[in-house]
């Protein structure tokens, strides 16, 4: 099992990577031999039989050779059959999820990934899995087709709207790997990049607990602050007044927000809730309508916590209290 990566392949960090790579290299070397044969011979003939100045005459009438023709039909046929059978076997292996696999629900959506863990936790754009344990991904999309691709694991599977698709892997090295969306899904397609974080079993349990955490023993505000990071709001919303993809959250609550359609609205609980669940309903002036919906991802309590957190970022007491 190589984990270093080569000229052709990125490090292979899952159990199937080795199989895929050996087939890849088998085809590669066979191809190189055939290629050298084809190009080498044509180069050699071109040199040897090049037309010397003025020489124009009859050429050799050789026009077939049955033995040769049979050989170059049979040998490639054998080769491709080897490739097929080999590929077939590996494919079967790649397709049958081990019984004891840990099942994670994957949701693809323009343009981020979210993951639901059996313990009840949820994470966005960061898939956390235990090392050396098969993980089954049960995937569906909320809008268009996406595709779940982790080069280091050699797995890829389209994520379809209104239909489940399945893939699995077993990572054997701890680390952080790129997760790409490889089915074109619109503007943010190339930014629909996440991470797969492979951690030790103990660490994983810690994470799972953390993700499933529903704020017991914390104030709503504190919980909101945690979610702000955990659910990736931080990627688009800053709290230091600076602009990012989305409007900053500090001093947001209670103010009059100008909308793209010219009207304006007061930022209160209802508006924030709507912005989270149905972001396209009211677009803030000066911003693109790119915020994803968190419908189904955030639970009520979490939304409340986020609202409390946003509220806490308002310095002007008078706006909060009325």
């Amino acid at each position: 099992m190589d984990t270093t990566g080569t000229f052709w392949m990125p490090p292979g960090n899952s159990t199937i990577a080795g199989d895929v790579d050996s087939l890849f290299y088998f085809i590669l070397y066979a191809s190189i031999i055939i290629f050298v044969l084809v190009v080498g011979l044509s180069a050699y003939f071109s040199m040897k039989y090049r037309r010397r100045d003025g020489e124009v005459g009859k050429t050799d009438g050789l026009d077939h050779n049955v033995k040769l023709e049979i050989i170059w039909t049979i040998i490639p046929t054998i080769l491709v059959m080897i490739v097929f059978v080999w590929g077939f076997k590996t494919y079967m292996y790649m397709n049958v999820v081990p019984k004891d696999a840990y099942e994670i629900k994957v949701n693809g959506q323009k343009w981020f990934w979210s993951f639901d863990y059996p313990e009840g936790g949820n994470s966005v754009n960061e898939l956390i899995v235990p090392v050396d344990r098969p993980v089954k991904l049960l995937m569906a999309s909320k809008d268009v087709i996406h595709s779940f691709f982790v080069p280091n694991f050699r797995i890829k599977m389209d994520v379809l709207p209104n239909r489940y698709s399945i893939t699995w892997f077993e990572a054997h090295t701890i680390g952080e790997y790129n997760l790409f969306c490889t089915e074109f899904c619109g503007k943010g397609h190339s930014e629909m990049i996440g991470k797969v974080k492979v951690v030790s079993q103990e660490e994983f349990e810690q994470y799972a607990e953390d993700l499933a955490f529903s704020g017991e023993g914390m104030t709503l505000e504190e919980f909101g602050a945690k979610l702000y990071i955990q659910k990736a709001c931080v990627t688009c919303h800053k709290i230091d007044g600076s602009n990012s993809t989305g409007p900053p959250w500090d001093n947001l609550y209670g103010k009059e927000e100008h909308l793209a359609d010219g009207s304006s609205v007061k930022v209160d609980e209802n508006y924030i809730r709507e912005s989270i669940l149905n972001p396209m309903a009211k677009i803030t002036q000066g911003y693109q309508p790119v915020m994803p919906t968190y419908q189904g991802i955030l639970k009520d309590k979490q939304i409340d916590a986020l609202i409390a957190y946003i509220k806490s970022l308002q310095e002007d007491e008078s706006l909060i209290n009325e």
């Binding site: 397709n95 049958v96 999820v97 629900k105 949701n107 979210s114 639901d116 059996p118 313990e119 009840g120 936790g121 949820n122 049960l138 569906a140 909320k142 809008d143 709207p161 209104n162 239909r163 489940y164 698709s165 399945i166 419908q295 189904g296 991802i297 639970k299």
Partner: protein, 146 residues
């Protein structure tokens, strides 16, 4: 003019009676197919109807379209188009009917039509997939009797 020899110069002029005969056979077959549709052969409904339709179609092609008398090339062309269509249908159905070979979860839509965008279940409370398939059945019927 390599293919000239294949056909006689004189066009076949078929007797009137043949046209009328074939025409009436077609009408009879139409009656038959309507008639048998009142019986239920279960699985074979489709087969029976298609056999009758195919015989009608062959009559039209062979006699009205002169395939029986013309250059065989035309018949080859015609039949090959049907073959390619068959390839299209058969291989596509190899996929569409067998998506759940390995996993039943893949068998069908999660939800009926446009509901999907807002009601796709995220199993934060660890419902198993089979449960959610049940859910699907329910919503479907509920939806239909709305």
């Amino acid at each position: 003019m390599s293919e000239h020899t294949n056909t006689g110069h004189k066009e076949h002029i078929l007797p009137l009676s043949l046209y009328l005969g074939i025409g009436s056979m077609l009408l009879v077959l139409t009656a038959v197919t309507v008639w048998v549709s009142f019986f239920d052969f279960g699985e074979f409904n489709l087969v029976v109807a298609m056999i009758i339709a195919a015989s009608k179609a062959s009559l039209v092609a062979l006699f009205f379209m002169h395939l029986k008398y013309d250059n065989k090339l035309y018949a080859i062309i015609f039949v090959s188009s049907l073959l390619f269509l068959a390839v299209f249908i058969i291989i596509t159905m190899f996929d569409t009917l067998r998506r759940d070979d390995v996993y039943i979860e893949k068998s069908g839509p999660i939800q009926k039509q446009s509901l999907m965008y807002d009601s796709l279940k995220t199993h934060s409370d660890s419902t198993t997939v089979v449960d959610s398939l049940q859910v699907k059945e329910d919503t479907t019927t509920v939806d239909l009797n709305k």
